[in-house]
């Protein structure tokens, strides 16, 4: 009997420890990002670092301004959402409200498949197909620019927007729609004027989730954005926060200010993502309350 009790106690502890793992992981990540990212920001000066427009990490007199990366990430995110949100939302409406069962069973697996494709595969296609196409179409010297990156990102955010929005649209109570139909509105009018507004929180959550994916994507944009530390312009070769970290990490010397600054860029990215997560959580909670 005693043995049984102690096994119970031990298992209780074991499961408790497992439950703590994700808390510990988040704490660990936060602490290490701050610990590794803060020194360079202090050394360079927060204003010079965040608002400096020139990044020359390997020059004789190095300059570490990351405003170009921040703005590129922000532009990239909004650009991807500008294309991804309408297409994604309409597809979600199709899946949740309009699709005949047979068509839905074709489109839904397609969306799941899009979600599962690794980012390097998107990058490869972007590099081989999209970049030359953009170059020819706009008569540019090179197609590796912000525009190509936005196109790739807009496809990558689609699955997130679609699946979250579809779930939200399906959760709209039937009575709302029946009432609207009963008042003489057509099905399309009902969907757009009743269902979509009712599912607003969930749809916004999907968009925020997509924003997070766009800001955090590294490898795919690395392969199509050209990777030069310019201030952002639609047809300029640019560097994102993510690619700024990835592109110099392999050759920056340990302990150098350059490497420390790369961790600081990581910290800035981390703060961005935490803000997005926080917003996501709020919208999801609001959706649940409704």
């Amino acid at each position: 009997m005693k043995l049984k009790h102690s096994i119970e106690r031990i298992m209780n502890m074991v499961f408790f420890v497992c439950g703590m793992v994700s808390i510990a992981a988040v704490a660990l990540i936060t602490i290490y990002m701050i610990w590794a990212g803060l020194p360079a920001i202090v050394k360079i000066g927060p204003i010079d670092f965040l608002f400096g427009t020139v990044w020359k990490s390997t020059a004789a007199e190095p300059q570490f301004g990351i405003l170009p990366f921040i703005l590129t990430s922000v532009w990239g995110m909004f650009g991807a959402l500008l294309i991804g949100v309408p297409v994604g939302l309409f597809t979600a409406i199709f899946l949740a409200k309009l699709a005949p069962a047979k068509l839905g069973n074709v489109v839904r697996p397609a969306v799941e498949l899009l979600a599962g494709i690794p980012s390097v595969v998107y990058g490869l296609i972007g590099m081989i197909v999209l970049v030359p196409a953009v170059m020819d179409f706009f008569k540019l010297k090179s197609g590796s620019n912000l525009f190509s990156a936005i196109l790739v990102l807009s496809i990558m955010v689609l699955p997130n927007i679609i699946s979250v929005s579809e779930t939200a649209l399906r959760a709209v109570p039937e009575e709302y729609e029946e009432a609207s139909l009963g008042l003489g509105a057509t099905w399309i009018e009902t969907v757009f004027k009743v269902s979509v507004p009712a599912a607003k929180s969930g749809i916004v959550a999907g968009i925020v989730l997509g924003a997070g994916r766009a800001v955090g994507e590294a490898m795919a944009v690395m392969m199509v954005a050209g990777n030069v530390a310019n201030m952002p312009g639609l047809f300029k070769s640019v560097r994102f926060l993510t690619t700024a970290v990835a592109s110099e990490m392999s050759y920056a010397a340990d302990g150098s200010l350059q490497k420390q600054a790369l961790f600081s860029i990581g910290l800035v990215l981390f703060v961005f993502i935490m803000l997005i997560n926080w917003a996501l959580n709020r919208f999801l909670k609001r959706g649940e309350k409704q």
Binding site: K4, I7, M11, V14, F15, V17, C18, G19, V21, S22, I23, V26, L28, I29, Y32, G88, L89, T91, I93, F94, L98, A99, P109, A110, V111, L113, L114, G116, I117, P118, S119, V120, V121, G123, L124, I125, M127, V129, I155, I162, T186, E189, L209, R213, G216, E217, A218, M219, M222, T242, A246, S250, F263, L269, F270, I273, M274, N277, L280, N281
Partner: protein, 286 residues
């Protein structure tokens, strides 16, 4: 235009937009798959799959990358599975404080939202440098353990919630201890959820590149045994695709790897569906 005509026009316009966008989404996927298979499949040869790159013979083989991918999947799951399932069990069976559950769920969501490049940075600091594992498959796998935890916790939790309370009460009523009840009743009834979590985690591992590039590197050496493999660095398929495409300009190889990755993604999606279907079938049979 009369009011009703206007209304009709608007309605048709929206309908066209909705159908058009859904069509676009599918068309993008079909074009992607088609292009990659057309360019990739012819390049998948036995020689590519069964050798390592050789400078002397000037050939490229992806056997080391295939093996590395397998090793990473294996170690990651061996660690992440018990941890993730344990966390889910704690949350649904043991935890009594609503506050604590909310905190754990919030941190799990947060982990799911952190981009892989951040995992790469932290993995490099913690596992490669501070713990001294070096750039190795071990460091890479440990980094992926944290990345895949949210997936496993969430799917397991979902399926634990579907186990009827009557099962638990029945077992406890017959005098089973809590752990005995979990071991013999709760976990077996939620096995399909756990398997789904595993499959999704494998999908994430197979597609991962940024986090592994900094923690496991991109080497293409075949280790003589499995322990040696984990102490050495090595690139998985996705990392190899990136290296061959952007640093070496070997696009035939890159497309061949892309085709293999897509086939894997396809299989993973099919497997998830199959598991869920058998689960639903069983539920109905009950």
């Amino acid at each position: 235009m009369s009011h009703s005509q206007k209304r009709k026009f608007k309605e048709n316009l929206l309908k066209v937009l909705v159908y058009g966008c859904a069509f676009c989404t599918v068309a993008i996927l079909v074009a992607l798959l088609g292009y990659i298979f057309v360019r990739g499949l012819p390049n998948i040869t036995w020689q590519l799959l069964s050798t390592k790159p050789s400078i002397i013979r000037d050939t490229i083989g992806i056997l080391p990358n295939l093996l590395n991918t397998l090793y990473v999947i294996l170690l990651t799951l061996v660690i992440a599975l018990p941890l993730g399932v344990g966390a889910a069990v704690y949350l649904t069976e043991y935890a009594t404080s609503k506050r604590f559950i909310a905190v754990v769920e919030f941190t799990t969501e947060t982990l799911a939202g952190i981009p892989s490049i951040i995992y790469g940075l932290v993995g490099m600091l913690v596992f490669v440098q501070v713990l001294g594992f070096g750039t190795s498959l071990l460091s890479g796998s440990l980094t992926l353990v944290i990345m895949t935890l949210p997936t496993i916790i969430r799917t397991t939790q979902e399926s634990l919630k579907t186990v009827p309370a009557g099962y638990r009460e029945g077992a406890l009523g017959l005098g089973a201890t809590k752990w005995y009840m979990i071991r013999t009743i709760v976990l077996p009834s939620s096995i399909s959820g756990i398997i789904t979590g595993c499959i999704l985690a494998i999908g994430r591992i197979v597609g991962e590149s940024a986090a592994l590039l900094f923690t496991a590197g991109s080497a293409t050496i075949i280790a003589s045994n499995i322990l040696e493999a984990y102490s050495r660095g090595g690139g998985t398929l996705s990392v190899a695709l990136y290296i061959y495409a952007s640093e070496r300009g070997e696009f035939e190889v890159a497309f061949a790897i892309a085709a293999i990755l897509l086939i894997l993604v396809f299989l993973i999606n099919m497997a998830t569906r199959l598991v869920q279907k058998t689960l639903n079938g069983k539920e109905q049979a009950k």
